[in-house]
């Protein structure tokens, strides 16, 4: 559906997006994740035709952004961050204006406005000036704007930023509902949001893609090192390190600061893809140490995100 190749954007000398390659299939909900300034918004703006790429190509279906940006704009519905709508207009007038530009007319226009009003919960505010709406309501009007032509692709830039928890849930539900039939690309820096709504997560940092896959794929990645923490009674740290380092699946053992008196705590780094817990247990069983604590650090999206995007 969408094919991005070598996409690059320079602002003067600063490289905001650096050779991004991305293939998005129809019907996916893709979350673009990254710290502030990672290039998420710039990428989306190029995708929607607002910015011209400095290099590289975006193809949506058979259209290229360089040859036929208008055709791509027709296929994409876009909600920029914080929904910058025309302030002075009534909600109804605004949506009608957008509908006409999107080529709707007469009866179909009226019907579509009704549908969107129901879907986005705009019934009671159609006659209000956009200026007077709360942030959440504006966001919903923006969503209606984006979905006006029932586009095949929906691009949402931080759709829930600045909303209260109830509004966030509402917007997510709407996105989920749309995502059943459409391709949705959304950017966010809220990890739980990406986990809750997206089929596929693309982590961006400093203009590059650093990870790409479903939540499961990312968290159970083959190339990740498992971390196991254990606590022992009646053992000296040096001895423990020496003994455990001998296990095949273990790559490093580091003593940890003592938290409770008498408990020696160490962190064990396993080799990628190996679960060494059984071997560790067996090695401890052979001694007279008492195992009081053992847990494997769960790989959450958060730990992965931090690992990949941390300033080094």
């Amino acid at each position: 559906m969408i094919h991005v190749e070598g996409l690059t954007k320079y602002y003067d000398d600063i490289c905001a997006v650096d050779h991004i390659d991305l293939d998005i299939k129809g019907g996916e909900i893709v979350g673009l994740l990254g710290p502030n300034g990672a290039g998420k918004t710039t990428t989306l703006r190029m995708l929607t035709g607002y910015f011209k790429p400095s290099a590289g190509d975006i193809r949506v279906k058979e259209h290229s952004i360089h040859d036929d940006p208008l055709a791509i704009k027709r296929l994409i519905g876009y909600l920029p961050e914080s929904a910058p709508l025309y302030k002075g207009m009534l909600v109804y007038d605004y949506l009608e204006h957008v509908a006409r530009i999107r080529g709707l007319d007469g009866a179909t226009l009226g019907k579509r406005l009704q549908e969107l009003a129901d879907m986005c919960g705009l019934r009671g505010i159609m006659h209000k000036t956009i200026d007077t709406l709360s942030k959440g309501l504006k966001q919903r009007v923006g969503l209606a704007h984006a979905m006006m032509s029932d586009p095949e692709i929906l691009v949402l830039d931080e759709p829930t930023s600045g909303l209260d928890p109830n509004q966030i849930v509402e917007i997510r539900e709407i996105i989920r509902k749309i995502g059943e039939k459409k391709t949705v690309i959304l950017s966010t820096h809220i990890l739980t949001e990406a986990e809750a709504t997206c089929d596929r997560i693309v982590i961006v940092n400093k203009g590059r893609i650093v990870a790409d896959g479903s939540t499961q794929e990312l968290t159970s990645g083959k190339d990740r090192q498992g971390r196991v923490q254990i606590g022992l009674l009646g053992a000296a740290a040096g001895e423990v390190v020496g003994r455990l380092q001998g296990i095949a699946g273990v790559s490093a053992v580091t003593p940890q600061p003592e938290e409770a008196p008498g408990v020696t705590r160490v962190q064990i780094l396993c080799r990628p893809g190996v679960d060494a817990r059984a071997d560790i247990y067996a090695a401890i069983k052979a001694t007279d140490w008492v195992l009081v604590e053992m847990n494997q650090e769960a790989q959450t999206l958060e730990t992965i995100f931090r690992e990949l995007t941390r300033e080094s």
């Binding site: 035709g49 208008l70 994409i76 876009y78 914080s82 025309y86 007038d93 204006h97 530009i101 999107r102």
Partner: protein, 233 residues
Amino acid sequence: MRQALLIFNKEFKDYFTSPIAYIVIAIFLAVTGWLFFTAFFLYNQAELRRFFTLLPLLFALVMPLVTMRLFAEEINVGSYELLLTLPVTFRDIIVGKFLAAVAFAAALLLPTLSYAFFISFIGDLDWGVTIAGYLGALLMAAAYAGIGLFASSLTRNQIIACIVAMVICVFLAIVDQMLFFFPQGILDLITYASANAHFTNIAKGILDSRDLVYFLSIAFLGLYATHLVMEEK
């Protein structure tokens, strides 16, 4: 073209949803009415020429106020992003906004037709000259609107857009009265660049293609420059 008309429609309506339009129209009518009629009875001539001579400078001050928001506001609020991601071309946007500004100038001139009717009752008004004057006024408004649109596309600050446009428009309006500042060699060129001289020709009832070409080419230059700015961004 349909898209351009939709943009025009929206922009033109926008003028009248905010009070600024009414304030601008009121001030324009008050100023023209006062300047025109205080002298009108002294001259004792049934013509609108004194009214038309006010227009080059007055429009140079008013049109920038009319055009300043067209792009600057959108860029500032961010709705520019929404506009550009809708299936409209730059040309549709520019033409739509330009026509809205010109239509607003027409709305500004519309009440002044009452001066013409009033004079035609008390004297013998030459309607041919009057209509030519209004046509010239619209052409001049179009030229100024082109400049104003360009200035507005340069910045997100409406006041800067307004001042830039005013400086250019006022220059064109009064340059033929500052000829002694310029060297002999380029006087012809400077006179040709004067909006006042071209407008005065038309307002006399002389429809010379040079004058029409002058205004239309200024408007076109402004719009083309706007297009370049949009592409650059």
